[in-house]
């Protein structure tokens, strides 16, 4: 009896030890030995290249606080597990990268480990950055080292237990993180491959444009099928669906224009807003024409989700259209609110105004399954980002203090069933849920 207990205990301990060793190994594999930096100082050319790449990765988007010193950190990334604060990347020795080597910086991007060996939270998108080349990482490091040092202390993350534990993070990484190498698909053009490198790696597009599981992991850096951004509750639409934001039938030039200027005046006025406005304003507007073209080529070629015959057959479409017309006709309150607050800019028939106000008729953005973005836009209003191609964007006023949840629901239900839109109605409960979001 006693011997059996001892044996069972030993067996459990052995299994535990093997699991711990496995997790540790999964966390350390693919790491290069830390080598000493080259003695030569970084050239101006390398620094300029690093600045460009830091833009492509939108490092500043998180590593700069509102109104704060560039790259001195402090902005919080809200997650369902707590808030992760982006650290100081300036060369300050106490708080920033002052004591880091290029090899340690590479290990942070490629393997998600800090200088002191701590595992980093994937709010820092190293599952994407792991695809960056060593040469690009070195250039970004050289640029960051050229910035003025700012002695701004880092803020501690405010994560709940057990997510604040390194052991929990090690298990997460064992399950969901694999260091990767940039890959070239020989069957595709150089342009497509460059686009893939930017979209999947530096651009970390799928940090938003993919759904996350209960533990906050995306399926793969290649997944761009859309997702609700946790806590912020903006929906980043699928880039692989004709019904959402897929661009398979756009011209390359139109995609380039949207990423460069934030608007496409020639295409029923599409305009970026919310978190994508930040991306265009802080990152893509600064990219070269060649890189934007490469991204456009890649995005156009993304495999598109197959259409569901239950909703896309001719009879299903006709039925949905007639049901939507009936809903719109019955929604007198919504129609009245639209006339009162929206029609002056968006037009009597939701036609918009080229170059100024987006069309709401036949709009993929209006008809997305989740109304999250519409609720944000109506409550908070917004401007498209200032870009060199659109230096004085048009703005929409916030209606948070004007319309009740019930009125917003009526108004959005009206939009979603009018002028060719056949989307589901919105309830006041849904509006109230998104109203609370940051």
């Amino acid at each position: 009896m006693k011997r059996g207990l001892v044996r069972a205990t030993l067996a459990l301990l052995a299994i535990g030890a093997v699991l711990i060793a496995l997790v540790a190994w999964l966390n350390l594999r693919g790491e290069d030995p830390l080598t000493a930096d080259a003695a030569a100082p970084a050239s101006a050319e390398l620094i300029a290249r690093g600045e460009y790449l830091a833009r492509a990765g939108n490092c500043m988007g998180c590593h700069t606080e509102r109104g704060g010193a560039p790259y001195a950190g402090g902005r919080g990334v809200p997650t369902p597990f707590g808030t992760v604060f982006a650290p100081n990347l300036t060369p300050d020795p106490a708080n920033g990268l002052g004591r880091w080597s290029a090899a340690e910086f590479w290990r942070a991007l490629h393997n998600g480990r800090a200088r002191d060996g701590r595992l980093l939270y994937p709010a820092f998108p190293y599952p994407n950055y792991t695809r960056i080349t060593r040469a690009d990482a070195d250039a970004i490091f050289a640029y960051l080292r050229s910035l003025p040092a700012v002695a701004q202390p880092n803020r501690a993350h405010t994560l709940s237990f057990p997510f604040d534990q390194q052991a929990a993070l090690a298990v997460w990484r064992a399950l969901y993180f694999r260091p990767a190498q940039p890959e070239t698909d020989a069957s595709r053009s150089t342009e497509w491959n460059r686009g893939a490198y930017l979209v999947e790696g530096l651009g970390h597009c799928n940090a938003c444009h993919a759904s996350r599981n209960l533990l906050g992991a995306t399926a793969s850096p290649l997944d761009l099928a859309g997702g609700l951004i946790p806590v912020q509750n903006w929906y980043a639409p699928s880039l692989a669906s004709k019904q959402e934001a897929g661009m398979a039938d756009w011209d390359v030039a139109q995609i380039v224009e949207l990423l460069k200027t934030g608007v496409t005046p020639d295409r029923a006025m599409v305009s970026v807003s919310g978190p994508m406005g930040e991306v265009v304003g802080g990152s893509t507007q600064h990219l070269s024409e060649a890189d934007l073209r490469a991204m456009a080529v890649y995005l156009r070629a993304l495999p598109q989700a197959a259409a569901d015959p239950a909703t896309t057959s001719a009879s299903a479409v006709a039925e949905a259209a007639s049901a939507a017309r009936a809903r719109a006709a019955a929604n007198r309150g919504g129609a009245k609110l639209y006339d009162q607050h929206c029609a002056a800019c968006h037009g009597d028939q939701g036609e918009g105004a080229a170059g100024a106000y987006p069309a709401l008729a036949d709009s993929r953005a209006v008809a997305l399954d989740t109304p999250a973005n519409l609720v944000h836009l109506v409550l908070e209003g917004g401007f498209a980002p200032v870009t060199s191609g659109n230096p004085r964007p048009y703005g929409m006023p916030p209606f948070a203090t004007v319309l009740s949840n019930d009125e917003v629901a009526q108004l959005l239900s009206y939009l979603r069933s009018s002028w060719g839109n056949t989307a589901t109605p919105v309830s006041a409960l849904e509006v109230s849920r998104y109203r609370g979001a940051k």
Binding site: A356, F383, V386, P391
Partner: protein, 206 residues
């Protein structure tokens, strides 16, 4: 430009003229430098109001400057004043603070910086009359409590921290009850050097 900034006039009233009973302040006709400093402060977090900060986040300095100039150049009639509801003692205290300040508290008179007519001084000092009482109360209260900041050195915070809540109420009551004369505009220049250093105001003592 008016078409581009419809985002502003949703709350600040048609053409930015606000209304005398609401919370949202008039922006039309305020000095361009003052408006510009406020836009920067909202965008960069010195002033806290979520709707304003989110709205301005994607805009750069040049566009904010253009927006400030647009509203500063509008010459529009002012709303009727709000009849005071405070007692005579309180209104007397309010008027005294505006015109003479309080030497014992080291509080300068409002007119020393905001102009003899209280219509502000170009380019950086705003008018104090023609504003809703609730707005004045909220701003002075926020400065006192540390919720509103101006460019450092933050002279208004210094002044507001010396005022008692009753003083703030007296000031707001008296100021909101004043009629703005037809065609009134910000003064072109300060009558005398500012009594204390103020950030964002050209010519301020250091």
């Amino acid at each position: 430009m008016a078409q581009r900034v419809l985002a502003c006039t949703g709350c600040h009233g048609p053409q930015g003229r606000a209304a005398s009973d609401g919370y949202y302040p008039r922006i039309a006709g305020k000095p361009a430098g003052y408006l510009y400093n406020q836009l920067l402060s909202f965008r960069d977090g010195r002033r806290q109001y979520g709707l304003m900060s989110n709205l301005l986040a994607p805009l750069d300095d040049a566009y904010l400057r253009a927006i400030a100039e647009h509203f500063s150049q509008l010459e529009l009639p002012y709303p009727a004043p709000q009849p005071a509801t405070a007692d005579v003692d309180s209104l007397t205290r309010g008027e005294a603070l505006v015109m003479k300040g309080d030497a014992a508290l080291h509080v300068p008179a409002c007119v020393e910086c905001h102009g003899a007519a209280l219509m502000g001084v170009a380019p950086g000092v705003p008018a104090l009359i023609g504003m809703p009482r609730d707005y004045l109360n909220a701003q002075l209260g926020a400065w006192r409590a540390g919720g509103r900041h101006a460019m450092p050195p933050d002279c208004m915070a210094e002044v507001a921290k010396k005022l008692a809540p009753a003083d703030i109420s007296a000031l707001s009551q008296w100021l909101a009850a004043q009629t703005v004369p037809r065609g009134a505009k910000p003064a072109a220049a300060l009558p005398a050097p500012l009594p204390l250093p103020c950030g964002g105001i050209p010519g301020s003592p250091r």
